[in-house]
Every structure is written in C-alpha cells, then in structure tokens.
Symmetry: C2
Subunit: 450 residues, 2 copies
C-alpha cells in the first residue's frame, strides 16, 4: 500500500487516501508518515479517523511527533491526548523538549496531569514508568453478570480487558479473574469464588528487566503493579514487556561490543552520539595496552635475537582473545537469561576447563602442522625450527586454558559484585588475555630457546 | 515456598505438599521438581491435579520430562497428552529420543497423531513448527450471542480465546474479531459486520524470526498462520513469539562471539558440546592469522633495526579490532531490529566515517601524549623518538578509520548476500583489521623512519 499511498499524496488525492488509510494498521501508517515531508505531514495526519490517528501517533518517531504537536491547535492536542493511553502519553513526554511537555501538561485534564506527574517520579526503568493505570477492577462480591456489565461500561478506555483485578475498598489487590474464566463460568457465580488468588505481581520500584522476566517465566498477558502496601496502582501489558526485552538485549549487545549503551536507534544517532558512546572504552583499552607494550619492551633483547618469534604474536593474541570472549559471551548470556548464578561458579569453571583442554589440544596440534607445513616448508622460513613451533603451540594451549577460565570467572564475579556482567565481554577480556599470553610466550621461549 | 516444599518432601508429608502445590504456578513447580531426585520426581508429580500437572510438565527440562514419561503407564501418558496443547506436545517430541517419541505417538489419538506428523514436516524454525492448531473459529453470519455460545462450548481446549478467526466453508481466513469487540458490541450484531478484515497473517513456511517481528511491530496477542491458499491452519501466540525473540537474540550473541549457535542452555551443554560449537571458528581464525604472521615476517629486517616498533603492535591491533567491532556490533543489531537495510549503506558509511575521524583524532592525540609521557619520560625508553610516536599515532588514526568502514560494510553486504550478518562481528573483523593495521604501520614506518 506504501506506493499507492505515496502516489495519492503526490497527486493530492486526499479523499481516496483517507479511504485507503482507514483500513490500515497504525504501525504501517506511521512508516508511511515517516516518508512524507514536513509540510505534508500534518495534512495527511489530519485525514485519519480520530482513534486511528492517536494509535498512529504512538507509533511515530519522536521527531515527527514533535513536528505534529507543534502544528496542532490546543483543541487538536487536547482531542488527541484524550484518545491516548496514559502510558503512551508518558512515553511521549519523556522524549519531548521542555516547551512541548509544558503544552501537553497544560492541555491534559487535572486527573491525567496528576497521574502523569506521579509516574514521572518513579525511578528510571522501573515498573512504575512503564505501567498503565487504565485497567479493569472488579469487587469480590460481584456476580459474573455484574462483572461483564462493568467491563462493558468501563472497558472501552482500557488497554486490556482480558485480565481483571479484584480489589477491596482500600484498593488492595485480592485476586485476578480473566475474561476467559468469566466466559466459561455460569452467569450467577460470585467473583470471589472464581478469582485466582495466587497472583504474580511486581512493585512500582522493581526494575523493568525483572518485570519482563516475569512475563517470560509465567507467560503473562499483563502483570499488576502494586505499591509497598499491596495496593494496585497499575498494570504492565505484554507488548511493553516485549519492548523492554528488546531494549535490554540491545543494551547488553552494545556493552559487550565495548560501547556505553545508547537510547537512540542507529539512524537517529548522530556521528557525535556514536563518538561519545564509543570513545571511553577505546581510550581505556588503548591505555591499558601499555602493559602489553611493556612486556614486549622487557623482552626486546630476546626478540632481537629470535625475531621469528614476533611473527606469531598476533596469532597467539587473537586466538587467546577469541577463546576468552567465547566463554565470556556465553556466560554473560546465561547470566542474563537467569540460567546460571554465582553459586554455579565451580561447576562452570570445571566445564570451561574441560572445554578449554579439548580446544587447546586441537588448536595446538593444528597450529603445529600449520607452522611446519606453511611457514617452514611452503614459505621456506628456516628460522622456524621444531623448537620454535613447540614454543608457539604450548603457549597456545596454555593461553586458551587461561583465557577460558578468566572468561567465565570475570562476568560471574562482576555480577556478584553488583556490576553489569556484560562489561566483561570481549574487549576487556582481550586486553587481559593479551598480556597473559605474551608473558606465557616469553616465559616458555626463555625455557626452551635461550 | 521452595524451602517449605522441599522440607515437606523430605518428611514425606505428601498430603500437606499437595495442598501447598495446588495453589502454585506451573513455572515455579517445575523449578521445584528440578531440585528433587530421580526416584522422588514421579511421586511428587503424581500428587498434582491433572491440569496443573500438564502445565508443569510443559515447563520442565527435557531430561526430566523423559524421566517422567519413562515412569508413566500408557494410561497415565494418554491422560497427560489429552491435557496438553498440540504445540507443546510437538515441542516435547522434538526433544525426546526416538523410543519415547514412538510411545507418545502410539498413545495419541488418530487426529492428534496426524496433526503432529503434519507439523513435524514444516521446515525447522518456520511458523508451522511453532503454531498451535487449537483456536476459536467463527462464521461471518453468526450473531454476537451465537459467537459467545461457540466460544463457551469450544473455548475450554483452546490456548487463547481472545482472538477469534472468521473463516468460510473452505477454511479461508476472512476476518478477525476479538472478544473485546464482542463484549463491546450489542448481542444481535452480525460477526461479518464487526469483524476486522485487515488482518496481519503469516505463512506456514515463514521464518519464526519474521513471525516474532510481526508481534513487535503490531503488538499482537496472536497471529494467524495460513497456507498458500490463505486457508487458516493455526495460530502463534505472543508467549511463543517472546521465546523466539529470546532464542534469536541468544543465537545472534553466540554467533557474534565466534561460536556456532547452540540449542541447549549452558547448564545442559556438556564440555564436548561447548568444544564442538567453539572449535570451528577458533581454527578458522587461527589459520587466517597466517597472513598477519606473513606481514611481520616480510618486515622482519626492518623490525630487527627498530625493535621498539614491535612494542606497539598489540596496542594498534587491539584498538583497531575494538573500533571495528564497535561498528559491526552496532550495525548487526540495527539490521536485526530492522532499523536499517542495505539501501541505507551510503548514509551509514558516511556516519561511520565521521565518527571514525572523531574517534581516530582523539585516540591519536591521547596516544601521542601517552607515548611521550609514559613510554619515553616515565620508563626512560630513549628508542621512543617523536618520529616513532608520530608513526604509531598516524597508524592508529588510519586503522580506526579503516576498521569502522569495514565494520559497517561487511555486515550489510553479508545480509544483502543472504548470509547472517552476525558472522561479521568482532572475531572476523579483528582478523581482517589486524592485517590491515600491520600493513599501514609498516608502510608509514617505511616512509618516515627508513
């Protein structure tokens, strides 16, 4: 439909465009609006039916939301805010500059404004900031028929009506009853008798990552958010949990790649943003490479005699770095999925040692064959003696062993100490393993060659 | 409850245990069963109410599922299979050894057996293999009351009843109507009038990753799966989509860490499994390090004169590798989230070049200060002249530039050519950048020093 719609926009056939768009999904229309120019954007947006317009607005990029809000009259803004769920309004506010936020708050009704301000006060990335306060609440003495009445009366404005929460007079959470249960129960059943009292809930200050894990573990549609007195204050729905999972995965991957995590998508990041997120680690790792330089300088005279040893430094360092990062990445992921914890340390290390011995032996053997065949025979480098090959291969096996042990211990220890284990991924491990592999290399060379 | 339950098991107080467990979540009970020994497992499992037992079974680790199935009589097995949703049965079958699969199929009814065999024939990781065939279907001429009747009659066995699918006599998918719409419509409305005909659906052979992306994009509860003739054959529910997202993220992270992806969790993998998934890349990367060795050998005589140059090789290689992997990891993630595609190549490269110039300049400047202060002044290494520092710093800036350009071009090209872009992450980039940084290093050294 993209091409057709863009065609219609170009030909200014807005009537036809309106007919086409009203049957489309909000997510797809948002992509379309991303393609039209600044001047046309408000025109196209205004032809959408009110509800679809609000849904589309939520799916748009912040830059375009801002453009639109600036083009809105106060009445238009009020009408749109009326259609939005509160959690979406809060999401939008968090991305807007102060002037726009002021206008949004000015045009919200008193109750909404109060709720927004409350939500904005929860700690960043907590359950409170991603929850919605629009849910269906029932009382325990209602019948199924009364419950359906209430859902019909109040359900229109709720993000989900399928999970209904039973609360007492002081809003304390008593139970959960699903529309499925309501439909499959007879009409005169009492809610208190059919509600599920074994509820998984989270606190307003719980981390969003923890909230998302509950969804994965229990396959939930929504999770209730309660305050310290077990009073129901909101719910988080599965679609928000899915977004959190992807955000957290992106963050892990960025940190593992040696960057500070960014909130912006790639296309929205400027090169200055990229620079700011990348330079800290690059500087830190560069300076720490001073140690490897010092080690080589320390063995300079030995290297001057056996220059051939230099040629194998990159291979040894890279293989060590790769072995270590394989282990660390595996462990970081297992930690983040909750598959292992610190108490598993001994069994993890033992497993890694056995894997390292297997990898190290195969690599050393392959390396020996490679050196003798390629470097000595094929390239005719007579400096490469059997003894040199032996030094390289023994170093390789030992480096792989050390790298894999460090690669599993560091992330687990980091987590135990309250740091993000993802920091202990390849760039960090590589730097440590480099230094160790050089020390081992020169140590063994010293023993066997000099 | 874990401690209480384990205590009760130890004291053989099964009556009390049964009372405790029947109020718990299946996911939690599965964790508990993971803690008890082989002999006790069937005992504890048998005290669970039938439905909860089946739910718990689905959540358990394959090893324990196998243990239980082997302890079941044929009647017990049949009873449990009756309670399971078909997609869960298929998941279990995929993990079991042939003998157990045979027993499961023997104890399924004819219709189920036929469906299982059909699902098992879909390509691995396709929509067909993760779908469930139990959904609510409605006809377009039903009224809302009739629809509710049908849901009440057939809903008990369905995984979700909230999305109902409207099909014609030949099972072609006509529309979607949610229970929410049904509840908010008047009882005598005709389904054909209130159904949504703009449906997002996937094909049986579509990749599960694509399916999961549709959930993220459209915030769906379930998605219909249709065959090539648009006949409805099943649905995928959001909880399965969430699992797929996590699986795909794990796979990406493993590949980026230089491993072939594994289907097993860390604790279930033996050290032989770890070895098998890790050795191919280690071998490949070790052999390709032959090039770096050759480059160094080629400049051996130059190095013998200026041994001080050797000390900076690790720092240059690591900084290059880190810069390149930052870019490649960022690009791989953006590709996998669908934020960028091949047509963005020019703007991506241009953005990376600008970021690289910023990073390279700052790094080169910092490196110059570091060399003059630490290596020359502090450590008193008089071989480190201003000219040597200049060679190192210019090499660094150029290496960062080349590394970032390669780091963004390779993953995008890989994707375009139909490969998994994750393969182009740090280990691969590092090897290429190593060789390039050495060539640049010796080239510049040749110009300025000899």
């Amino acid at each position: 439909m993209m091409e057709t719609a863009l065609q219609l926009i170009q030909e200014r056939k807005f009537m036809e465009l309106a007919r086409l768009l009203k049957t489309q999904n909000a997510a797809d229309i948002a992509v379309l609006l991303g393609e039209v120019d600044e001047a046309t954007l408000p025109l196209v947006y205004r032809i959408l039916p009110k509800e679809l317009a609000a849904e589309t607005f939520v799916e748009m990029e912040p830059e375009q939301q801002e453009l639109l809000i600036r083009s809105f009259s106060d009445r238009e803004l009020r009408e749109m805010l009326d259609e939005l769920f509160l959690d979406d309004t809060v999401d939008i506010i968090e991305e807007m500059p102060a002037g726009v936020v002021k206008r949004i708050l000015k045009n919200s009704d008193v109750q909404t404004r109060r709720s927004i301000n409350e939500i904005l006060q929860y700690p960043e990335d907590s359950a409170g900031t991603i929850m919605t306060i629009e849910y269906v609440d029932l009382k325990r003495d209602m019948t199924v028929v009364q419950a359906f009445d209430r859902i019909r009366r109040t359900g229109y404005d709720k993000e989900t009506i399928y999970d209904c929460y039973v609360t007492d007079a002081s809003r304390k959470l008593l139970g959960l009853v699903t529309v499925r249960t309501l439909l499959l129960s007879s009409p005169d059943c009492i809610i208190g008798d059919i509600m599920d009292t074994n509820i998984v809930s989270v606190g307003t200050h719980d981390d969003q990552e923890y909230v998302a894990h509950q969804f994965e573990k229990y396959d939930l549609l929504a999770i209730p958010v309660v305050d310290t007195e077990n009073r129901l204050v909101g719910i988080v729905t599965f679609d928000d949990a899915m977004d959190v999972i992807q955000e957290e995965n992106t963050e892990d991957i960025e940190i593992m790649g040696g960057m500070t995590p960014s909130e912006k998508t790639y296309l929205r990041s400027t090169s200055l943003d990229l620079f700011r997120h990348r330079i800290p680690w690059l500087l830190l790792l560069m300076v720490s490479a001073t140690f490897t330089g010092m080690i080589i300088t320390g063995f300079e005279s030995a290297l001057a005699v056996q220059v051939v040893l230099t040629a194998f430094i990159p291979m040894l360092m890279d293989t060590g770095g790769n072995s270590g990062s394989q282990s660390s990445v595996t462990i970081i992921r297992a930690l983040s999925l909750g598959e292992i914890e610190f108490s598993d340390l001994a069994s993890v290390v033992w497993k890694e040692i056995r894997a390292a011995v297997l990898c190290g032996t195969v690599l050393a053997a392959a390396c020996f064959v490679k050196i003798m065949l390629i470097d000595r025979l094929l390239m005719g480098n007579t400096d490469v003696t059997v003894l040199v090959a032996a030094v390289v291969c023994v170093t390789m096996a030992l480096t792989v062993l050390v790298a894999k042990i460090i690669g599993c211990i560091l992330p687990m220890t980091a987590k135990k100490m309250g740091f993000d284990p993802a920091v202990m991924a390849s760039p960090f491990i590589t730097t440590i393993v480099d230094a160790i592999s050089l020390l081992v290399y020169f140590g063994i060379a010293h023993l066997l060659l000099f």
